[in-house]
């Protein structure tokens, strides 16, 4: 029964002892794009992540749901080291994020190597965070050229294709503020894709948009899912999660309460907190 096993995984993450960052216990599994093991994070006295375990297979779409303050955005931000973890380990494509394995110990990476590593993980922000003083095309080409040292001409060709795929074709030389919110977020998606990342993270990608613009952004994300990309999406759009996600993860108070296919978690939730949350948002 898939539901039951999903719950046990959730529980296990709750009870499992947290591995120290100095001692990864097992080799990374090759089929996983992302592995999160016993991650903890505090901001001062606030314990935001209290031991999170999560695995994401290649080509899988994972939606993370949960009430605000449950730690879902923080978890997402730890995946590309925008937040440092206090304990636990994160592997992207088998490599520890922010650290390097030397013998049996993990050594913190230098800033330069962290920046290089981040190119493997695309990030789409709630507020787009496009660079307002650069044109749409420059926004997309900046990082592949400056961070990955790729040829500008090739990157531009690829950027135009990506912009075409997200449906922003006629405004490539405009500035972000001349675009609608939906267009800006689609440019931000193209900007993340241009780095050819192994996984793309979305932090509430439609929360800052006018209701009538939400659809076009969700459509672009759905297209990526169909292309077989690995996506992790923090979202409030339960309907969208049901439609696009292979796995739905429900978080509350810094822990994964329940995870599994949408049919299980959304239609037949086992946990009280999941039920309470879904009854509020559906």
């Amino acid at each position: 029964m898939s539901t039951a096993s999903a719950i046990t995984t959730g529980r296990k993450s709750f009870e499992q002892r947290v591995p120290e960052p100095g001692a990864p216990q097992q080799q990374a599994d090759e089929q996983y794009a992302v592995e999160v093991r016993g991650v903890q994070k505090s901001f001062g006295a606030l314990h935001v992540l209290r031991g999170v375990d999560l695995t994401v297979r290649r080509g899988e779409v994972t939606a993370i749901l949960g009430p605000s303050g449950s730690g879902k955005s923080t978890l997402l931000r730890t995946l590309n080291h925008l937040e440092k973890v206090d304990a636990g380990l994160i592997l992207v494509e088998g490599d520890p994020v922010g650290y390097r394995l030397k013998g049996t110990r993990l050594h913190e990476l230098r800033e330069r190597d962290i920046l290089r590593q981040r190119a493997k993980v695309g990030f789409v922000f709630q507020n787009f965070n496009l660079f307002p003083h650069l044109t749409v095309l420059e926004n997309v080409t900046e990082a592949p050229v400056s961070a990955q040292k790729r040829n500008r001409k090739d990157v531009e060709t690829e950027a135009l294709e990506l912009l075409d795929r997200v449906g922003v074709t006629d405004k490539v030389h405009a500035y972000p503020r001349q675009l609608s919110g939906g267009q800006q977020q689609r440019v931000a998606i193209a900007r993340a894709l241009a780095l050819r990342p192994a996984v793309i993270l979305f932090d509430e990608p439609t929360s800052a948009l006018d209701p009538e613009l939400v659809g076009e952004v969700l459509e672009a994300i759905q297209q990526l899912a169909k292309d077989g990309r690995t996506l992790i999406i923090v979202t409030h759009e339960v309907g969208f999660a049901r439609e696009v996600a292979d796995t739905v993860v429900f978080m509350d108070a810094g822990l994964i309460v329940e995870q599994g296919p949408p049919s299980a978690v959304l239609d037949n939730p086992q946990h009280e907190r999941t039920k309470a949350f879904l009854s509020k948002v559906l």
Binding site: N80, L82, Q117, R118, A119, H133, A143, S146, Q148, Y175
Partner: protein
């Protein structure tokens, strides 16, 4: 429909115009202004070479001041507590000392240090200069103006950098853009919008502030006109020579400021407002169009 009347507006406008007319009349008729002498000295070689020295002092002071200012701002915003403290102390010290006092210190530095040496600290020395010959009056002035300016530019630059949205840095970091490029390509161009108006203020006040150097007998514009009116007693026309030159160059700087600000406004506004020049062209072309319309309309 009866429009409301504003009789007091008319009264105020007329009163102001009367005062302005009186002032202009005075400029023309009062012989004390001595306009022929003004015309004679305005482009005199001695005045022009002094003006050139003033411009040089401004340029060197600006370059030194802002280069050091960027370094101080970066130090203050760095995570290194030693650099932070040094930067804070520098700004504190140089804002506390009046410019003229500082300039006189540099001018008299030879009382403190007779010779300057380059070598390994607490180790052997390679070169030695005589301070009096190495630091001329001009060099003392540039050092003094530049160091003074640096304290103020550091704060202006820091303010500009702080005004850039934190999300911009986060996005740049998430994209893996190298640190130095994050600063020069993402942060600084956006900070420039906040920095420029204040920086232009500083350059203009530095330009006029160079007149303080006249106390050290450096032949910049203000010193030179003082020397000339000391000889011939034509105080007012020569002060006007200096005044008009200061106004002309400040005007040029203001125009440069306008266009530099426009450059950095790219992307910040949806559509750029027209420049005064573009507005003039547009107006002329509509007048022309109207006139042609009138002519050809009349023929028909």
């Amino acid at each position: 429909m009866v429009r409301s009347r504003h009789p007091w507006r008319w009264v105020a406008a007329i009163a102001v115009l009367v005062v302005v007319a009186q002032f202009i009349n005075g400029l023309v008729t009062n012989p004390g202004w001595d306009w022929p002498a003004f015309a004679q000295y305005f482009t005199a070689p001695a005045v022009l070479s002094a003006l050139w020295l003033t411009i040089q002092l401004t340029v060197y002071g600006t370059v030194l001041g802002f280069a050091l200012g960027i370094a101080l701002a970066a130090a203050r915003l760095s995570k290194n507590p030693v650099l932070q403290t040094v930067s804070w102390t520098y700004v504190w010290a140089f804002r506390s000392i009046p410019l003229i006092v500082q300039l006189l210190f540099w001018f008299n530095i030879a009382y403190l240090y007779q010779s300057l040496s380059i070598g390994i600290p607490f180790g052997p020395t390679f070169f030695t200069f005589d301070v009096n010959s190495a630091i001329s009056g001009m060099a003392a002035a540039v050092i003094g103006l530049g160091l003074h300016q640096a304290a103020y530019s550091a704060e202006i630059i820091r303010a500009g950098i702080l005004s850039v949205d934190q999300g911009q840095l986060e996005a740049a970091a998430a994209l893996g853009i190298p640190k130095r490029r994050q600063f020069f390509k993402i942060v600084l161009p956006q900070a420039m919008r906040g920095i420029l108006p204040n920086a232009a203020n500083e350059v203009i006040s530095l330009f006029k502030g160079t007149s303080i150097v006249s106390t050290m007998a450096i032949a910049e514009l203000f010193y030179q006109v003082q020397v000339i009116y000391g000889r011939n007693g034509r105080v007012v026309p020569l002060l006007m020579v200096a005044t008009v030159w200061y106004i002309v160059l400040t005007t040029l700087l203001s125009i440069v400021q306008y266009y530099v600000e426009r450059h950095y406004a790219k992307g910040a506004v949806r559509t750029m407002p027209l420049t005064p020049w573009q507005k003039l062209q547009r107006r002329l072309s509509t007048i022309n169009a109207a006139r042609q319309e009138a002519t050809y309309g009349g023929l028909r």
